[in-house]
Amino acid sequence: MYTEKVIAEFTNPENVGEIADADGVGEVGSPACGDIMKIYLKIEGDKITDARFQTFGCAAAIASSSMTTRMIRGMPLSEAWEFSNADVVDALGGLPPAKVHCSVLARDAVRAAINDYRTRRGLEPRETGSSRCCDGAGCGSKPEND
């Protein structure tokens, strides 16, 4: 069901871990949903100079986090804000419909981190489209289906 790119990104993710002195940290999801993404940003001027992640979740969630951090490194904040989950999906060569929400989650984590940075700087957080916990149809991997 996954593309080779997703599997490659998942099995060898980049930018795993915390940034101790991060300028912004965003966390979305919950253990109940089976997905938590935490993104750490290092920001210099208006630019993202480092991005790292920690993720509890499925292969698509981990691959999306990894790909997202790779893509937003070096981006101006304004561009990173507009950065769309469709870009992540494209970069991964596609995601199964039931997994697209993982890429949305990654985008949301980036926005949450940017807002954290803004708040720390005394700026108003920007309005962020809230993401639902999960969506999409099943892909039938549960043993309940055996």
């Binding site: 253990p31 979740g57 499925c58 981990i62 549960k142 289906n145």
Partner: protein, 399 residues
């Protein structure tokens, strides 16, 4: 082993099994040589009929049932649907209430939900932390409107074996029919429909090295049950459709092989399984074995690993050539992970971090060694990625 072109280390026998060569050999003549329709009158069709009736005897013998109480279906799901809808609808004037458990397979649960839409009411009994139904609860749930109790013989996710004979007795003491989904139990739990007080029993060929798309429903003589598939007079007028002769023959041979020496089989598999469980619990902190410590299918090793999610465990194992499954439903996009794991009291996080390894006849000691080598590393990698992992649960990198 981690080469994707090699035969994988298959530890998902609860999902399905390979077909044993002797079973395919038994089926082989019925595809193109003895292909006659068993309903046909001419001599040529006699071989087909004999094949079907021989299989019926084998299934009857395996269950302690008479030949005329065995009806072939296209699998476990059809058998479950037939048993539950058939018994509920046929006994509707007597009552409209069904008792089942919260951890049944969806073939039972979704069938019960359909009946609820038809005006029936259903009690879904809770289970304890090990996944066991309390027979006392069954008795308390039965009302004078109850016509059917359906509790599975053994669970497909966590392997827990139910006190079937006790539940059967409670049902019969109340004059209520008892159905059990024995799809996972055949070949591992010795079954005797008399001793266990079973009126209806579902089984499925592909769970014990037989063909996919084959199954059977045991119907105790005299049990009131409607047909599910209407049409021709096959299966003594109770299940229409031209018989899947090769499939039925394969099912018969498979159940013979699977029940010939259950004890010896269980001993062999349990030894591997126990080493697997001990090895995993010994090398991975914050791991638990799901299901019952002793009353469980010998081949089932179901775990929850905290701080990580099941699908990603499964895919890391897959990358190393190990086939396993998970009860996590992150993948399914629903809020709920496995209803079975939640019913045993696991938190959502624990339920999401589940992994099921189910052994089978082709597994070897080397397979166990290999999984014990690969799995801790996989959990370790995912825990290093997870924001939830506390320091004590980290697993050092090996290389």
């Amino acid at each position: 082993m981690n080469d994707q072109d090699q035969r994988p280390v298959y530890m998902d026998h609860a999902a399905t099994t390979f077909m044993k060569p002797e079973i395919l050999a038994a089926m082989a003549p019925y595809f193109s040589r003895y292909f006659g329709n068993p309903s046909s009158l001419y001599r040529f069709a006699r071989e087909s009929r004999k094949g079907v009736e021989g299989a019926r005897e084998a299934v009857g013998a395996a269950l302690g049932a008479s030949t005329d109480e065995i009806f072939f279906t296209a699998g476990g799901s059809e058998a479950d649907n037939w048993a539950i809808k058939g018994a509920a609808l046929a006994n509707r004037e007597r009552g409209d209430h069904i008792v089942t458990s919260a951890i049944e397979h969806h073939a039972v649960l979704h069938t019960c939900e359909w009946l609820e839409k038809q005006g029936f009411s259903v009690t879904y009994l809770p289970v304890d932390e090990f996944g066991r139904v309390d027979p006392g609860d069954v008795g308390e749930a039965i009302t004078d409107r109850t016509t059917l109790v359906s509790v599975m013989t053994a669970n497909n996710e966590i392997g827990t074996i139910q006190p079937v004979a006790e539940i059967g007795k409670v049902a019969h003491d109340h004059g209520v029919l008892f159905h059990t989904d024995a799809v996972q139990a055949v070949g591992a739990v010795p079954i005797d429909v008399e001793r266990m007080g079973i009126d209806l029993l579902s089984l499925s060929g592909h769970k014990f090295y037989g063909p996919k798309g084959t199954g059977a429903l045991y119907i105790r003589r005299g049990t009131r049950i409607e047909n599910l598939i209407h049409g021709g007079g096959q299966e003594r007028g109770r299940r229409a459709g031209t018989e899947n002769v090769p499939g039925i023959v394969g099912l018969g041979r498979a159940i013979e092989l699977a029940t010939a020496d259950i004890e010896g089989h269980n001993r062999r598999i349990a030894a591997m399984r126990d080493r697997l469980v001990r090895g995993i619990l010994g090398s991975i902190p914050d791991a638990r074995l799901n299901g019952h410590p002793t009353e469980r299918l010998v081949n089932n090793a179901s775990f929850s690993f905290r701080y990580v999610e099941g699908e990603s465990i499964l895919l890391l194992l897959d990358a190393r050539g190990i086939c396993a499954s998970t009860g996590s439903a992150c993948s399914s996009g629903s809020l709920e992970p496995s209803h079975v794991l939640l019913a045993t009291g696991l938190s959502h996080e624990e339920a999401h971090g589940s992994l099921r390894l189910t052994l089978g006849d082709a597994n070897t000691a080397e397979d166990i060694d290999y999984v014990l080598e690969i799995l801790p590393d996989a959990i370790g990698r995912l825990r290093r990625i997870s924001p939830l992992t506390p320091a004590h649960a980290r697993i050092p990198e090996v290389d």
